[in-house]
């Protein structure tokens, strides 16, 4: 039994999600990622259950573990009650903890995700906040969003929302005291230190690559090596 495997086994998601895999391929057959990335969740489960630390380390540093979309479709079907999706979450968690995530292009995206999503949570109390959802970065949000973005207050008012308003309602301003509580939760449960760790790893990587943070951010947001895809 290896050290990395032991670390993984401390994760409740792995305790729940890993039983003996019989390599039947049920998960891969219906996995949304398996079709569009070079990805086979069955292999991941097989590697983890092998307890081979070298192989696990390779996984933790690879792009592979970042292809899953966490839809959990695999959970419904596995005949051994494995949850490939939960196993992936444990691997990602450990990859971040050990700083390995920054080694791969897909893993590196955690830098941006952590920054954006955590600050949304701490600043506004929401994971997604419409004023931070810009059409420039989201051209697929459509012409209708381009229009909404320009008239966000009016659109929310028209649709019965309460954008940044007092009291309950859609997209209300969540009181400071509640956001303070979220911050306190972040502090004592490891989310704050996680944020700092990921930020520092990103800054270090940017320096290594001789990039400004802006360049680095842009690269992380947009690049996708064709090697991830099937040809």
């Amino acid at each position: 039994m290896g050290k990395l495997y032991d670390l993984l086994m401390q994760d409740y998601r792995l305790k729940e999600g890993l039983n003996a895999c019989i390599n039947c391929g049920t998960c891969t057959a219906i996995c949304p990622a398996a079709e569009f990335y070079r990805y086979d969740p069955r292999r991941i489960v097989d590697i983890v259950q092998s307890q081979d630390d070298n192989e696990i380390e390779k996984l933790l540093k690879s792009d592979t573990i970042w292809y899953c979309g966490e839809c959990m479709s695999c959970v419904t079907r596995c005949p051994r009650k494995n949850a490939a999706g939960l196993i992936i979450m444990s691997l990602r968690n450990l990859s971040i903890e050990l700083g390995y995530f920054i080694e791969s292009e897909k893993g590196r995206q955690q830098f941006l995700l952590t920054k954006d999503l955590c600050s949304n949570v701490l600043d506004y109390g929401y994971c997604v906040y419409p004023r931070r959802f810009d059409y420039a970065g989201h051209p697929e949000a459509g012409r209708v969003w381009e229009w909404e973005e320009k008239h966000l207050d009016d659109v929310f008012e028209r649709l019965g929302g309460n954008l940044d308003g007092k009291g309950p309602g859609a997209m209300r301003r969540i009181p400071q005291e509640d956001r303070d509580q979220l911050k306190a939760i972040f502090d004592i449960t490891g989310a704050t230190s996680r944020m700092e760790k990921v930020q520092a790893a990103g800054e270090k990587k940017a320096a290594e690559l001789g990039m400004t943070m802006e360049e680095f951010t842009q690269m992380v947001y947009t690049t996708s090596d064709p090697k991830h895809l099937n040809h």
Partner: protein, 351 residues
Amino acid sequence: MKNNILIIGGGPAGLESASQLQRMGYNVILIEKSPKLGGHLAKWDRLFPDSVPADEVLGGLLRGAEGVKCFTDTDVRAINRLDKSYNVRLTNGITVLSDAVLVASGFDLFDAVKKEEYGYGVYDQVMTNADLEAYFKTGTDRRIENPGKIGFAHCVGSRDEKAGCRSCSKVCCATAVKQAIEMKQAFPNAEVFCFYMDLRLFGRHYEDIYLKAQKEYGVRFIRGRVAEVSENYDGTLLVKAEDTVAGKPLKVTLDLLVLMAGMRPSGVGKAIGDLLEMPVEEDGYFAVRSGIAASQRSPIPGIFLAGAATGPKTLPETLADARAAAMEVDRYLTEIFPDAKNYKQLVKERW
């Protein structure tokens, strides 16, 4: 005086042990809950590996059991254990005082509806191995009309903890290969696919039919469990699996999908087991005194087991098991049962 022996279950195991015990001179009473003797065998068309007609085998079993008192449509109402014997009240009003009880309650086929993602009973073109045997026997099934592409999904209700069935049903791989060949014989232009996890073709001649299926019939074996079935606009099926050898997800359009429903412990048998207070193991099948040395003896003295009541078995295994059970009954009734004085001590030492 001849001992009375009650055999519960009129399938191959019950019939074969009845036949043997009668030959040994015992007074055998056999009860069968359904209206007909023969169990699943009576519903099957041909048998792997050599495609022997099931009727022929069943005919032989029935001839062997001629003279046995058989009550069909009969179940057990109540059982009382006396000192050594059993007082059994049957649903047909008869009471039997039996010195030994042999439980040959067989198996149920897994209810394929429970494997919801395969759409049995939801999608028109999905059937089971049993449905296909019925088709071979009768020549009609609304689902079969010159199918161009046919799939066989192995391990339906076997090796599946989600479906509550961890164990392997043992016979389905060989049955699938047999049925695949038979479908190719019936529809030579059809493409046939078998979706398997491991091909468990362990028995004599089994590997031969596998080779024959590949070589002579071009059956395609795909190593991957069927993950999902759905219905296309034209009523054909979309079947998904991973080709685990290639490591890629796979889809295929099929005109017919046959689910290899596995063996489950008999529900009727379970009810009788409850009356007799017979212990079952985690897999739901009856526990035996010893899995290797005494697999036809239940942990309860005087109660014997034969056939699939103690787990999935092929037909020859079931028949061999039935004969072994007959020998065990005989040993008990000659060596342990008659010694009224030392009965308890003998049971302790020799059961």
